[in-house]
């Protein structure tokens, strides 16, 4: 332990083992991986759509391999999502509702990808272009994924899951600020905000 800390503070690294011990990945992996799932799936959708409309064989291949990539990375996305959830002690409230919905929808998106992948494999195996019905299915799955992405975005950007207090603050950031209001809870939150402002003024 002492040895590792001395290396960390600038001492020479003389073996692979020491180098391995110094490796540190502090950023949560889930928000990184989720972009691969989404981007590859959307890329597949785009390539297949254009390939279908203009009969471009290379785009059909792109559609297949990007779908393979999307499906391959998704189990890791799910696992890292569960790991991220383990790190955040969320109390009962709107934030946790978002987390629960996000958790419920994750495996559904994976299931849709599995089903689409099998369907897509049929076209690839026989060297055919995808059908209109398949594209309709992918657009449907894309819609579900959009909802899932929105829920994930709310968890990070509104409630700061795994971000709040974990990173350096941006210039001009106020620690006194409250999270942006939800439309549905604006009345409650406004009253909470008033009460907090009042208590701050009292303490000043």
């Amino acid at each position: 332990m002492m040895e590792t800390s001395s290396r960390r503070s600038g001492g020479p690294v003389t073996s692979m083992r020491q180098a391995w011990r110094l490796m540190e990945l502090s950023a949560p992996l889930h928000p990184i991986l989720v972009h691969f799932t989404i981007a590859l799936m959307i890329a597949s959708l785009g390539a297949d759509t254009i390939g279908y409309l203009f009969s471009v064989a290379s785009l059909a291949d792109t559609g297949w391999w990007t779908m393979v990539g999307s499906l391959a990375v998704t189990p890791l996305t799910l696992i890292t999502g569960a790991i991220s959830r383990r790190r955040i002690p969320i109390e009962e409230g709107p934030a946790r509702s978002f987390v629960r919905s996000h958790m419920a929808l994750g495996p559904v998106v994976f299931g849709l990808l599995v089903a689409l992948m099998v369907w897509r494999a049929e076209f690839w195996q026989h060297g055919h272009f995808v059908s209109g019905w398949y594209l309709l299915g992918v657009y449907g799955a894309g819609l579900v994924m959009t909802v899932q992405g929105y829920l994930g975005g709310e968890i990070v950007y509104r409630y700061g899951a795994e971000v709040k207090r974990a990173y350096r603050e941006m210039p001009g950031h106020s620690t006194q600020g409250l999270p942006p209001l939800l439309p549905s809870s604006s009345r409650v939150s406004a009253s909470v905000r008033e009460a907090m402002n009042a208590s701050r003024e009292e303490s000043e």
Partner: protein
């Protein structure tokens, strides 16, 4: 219909992969359930041992498809797993109901709160699937006196019936607190009926209906996965105190059985 390869794998290689996957999911739930009871009986280790053997032999048969001894091994391990599941069923009935205060007079109570009565038969089923797979990999077109596709339809129908009953018992215990908890009693039940129909009087129409229902059952399985994960997070503390809630929450691997059975059915109708 001659067997058709899919993505370079023979249908029975796919069945071997499905056998391994389904067994893994069963083992996760068996481990959690038996760990919760602190492995009070040594026999509680049995499904883990036979299940692991089944996973290894299935994967080996899928990867190195060909050697006769490997198929024979899968056949033997399949029967071992099937028997161990039957013994487990006896244990669950005896120690989970008969010897409990009130015994069978409190049947409904122990069905809900005792050891899950049908869970060990899941291992029996994956064992039987291993046996069917081994026969298929050996090049045989019939098993248990039936053509392979018919045998698989009947297998899926029987297994779905058991899974639906077990899900119904446990969701009843959960007071069907979410409407989605009725899902295992709807689409999979229709799939089961279509499977029986397909086995008895196959036709193009029944086959199409069976295929659609199998796809829907597959999605129901994934929805179940999501909802069970959500159920785990509804417990106090959720995944933040994951071990406790994993022991007390909904069984995480259980909905996977619907996925596995749907996949078996799909292999049966599309590739065989």
């Amino acid at each position: 219909m001659t067997p058709t390869a899919f993505l370079g794998l023979h249908p029975f290689q796919w069945l071997a992969v499905i056998t391994a996957g389904a067994t893994l999911l069963l083992l996760v739930d068996a481990f959690v359930g038996h760990y919760r009871r602190a492995f009070a009986y040594r026999m509680q280790y049995a499904p883990l041992v036979t299940g692991l053997l089944l996973i290894v032999s299935s994967l080996a048969a899928a990867i190195f498809s060909g050697p006769a001894w490997l198929n024979q091994l899968l056949w033997g391990v399949g029967w071992l797993a099937a028997v161990s599941g039957l013994i487990g069923f006896g244990y669950h009935v005896y120690y989970g109901i008969v010897t409990k205060p009130g015994g069978v007079k409190w049947l409904l109570h122990y069905l809900m709160y005792g050891a899950p009565i049908l869970a060990p038969l899941g291992l029996t089923a994956t064992g039987v699937l291993g046996v069917i797979t081994a026969r298929g990999l050996s090049g045989e077109g019939r098993v248990f006196g039936l053509d392979m596709p018919v045998a698989l339809c009947i297998f899926v129908a029987i297994m779905l019936a058991g899974t639906i009953v077990q899900a119904a018992i446990l969701h009843y215990r959960g007071a069907f607190n979410n409407p989605v908890m009725y899902a295992p009693l709807t689409v999979p039940a229709l799939t089961m009926l279509a499977g029986v129909w397909m086995a008895l009087a196959p036709s193009t129409l029944v086959r199409a209906a069976f295929a659609v229902l199998l796809w829907m059952t597959l999605l129901v399985g994934f929805i179940g996965f999501g909802m069970h994960l959500r159920g785990l997070d509804r417990e106090m503390g959720g995944l933040y105190i994951w071990l406790f809630n994993l022991l007390e929450g909904p069984p995480q691997g259980a909905p996977g059985l619907f996925i596995a059975l749907a996949a078996v059915g799909l292999v049966g109708i599309y590739l065989l």
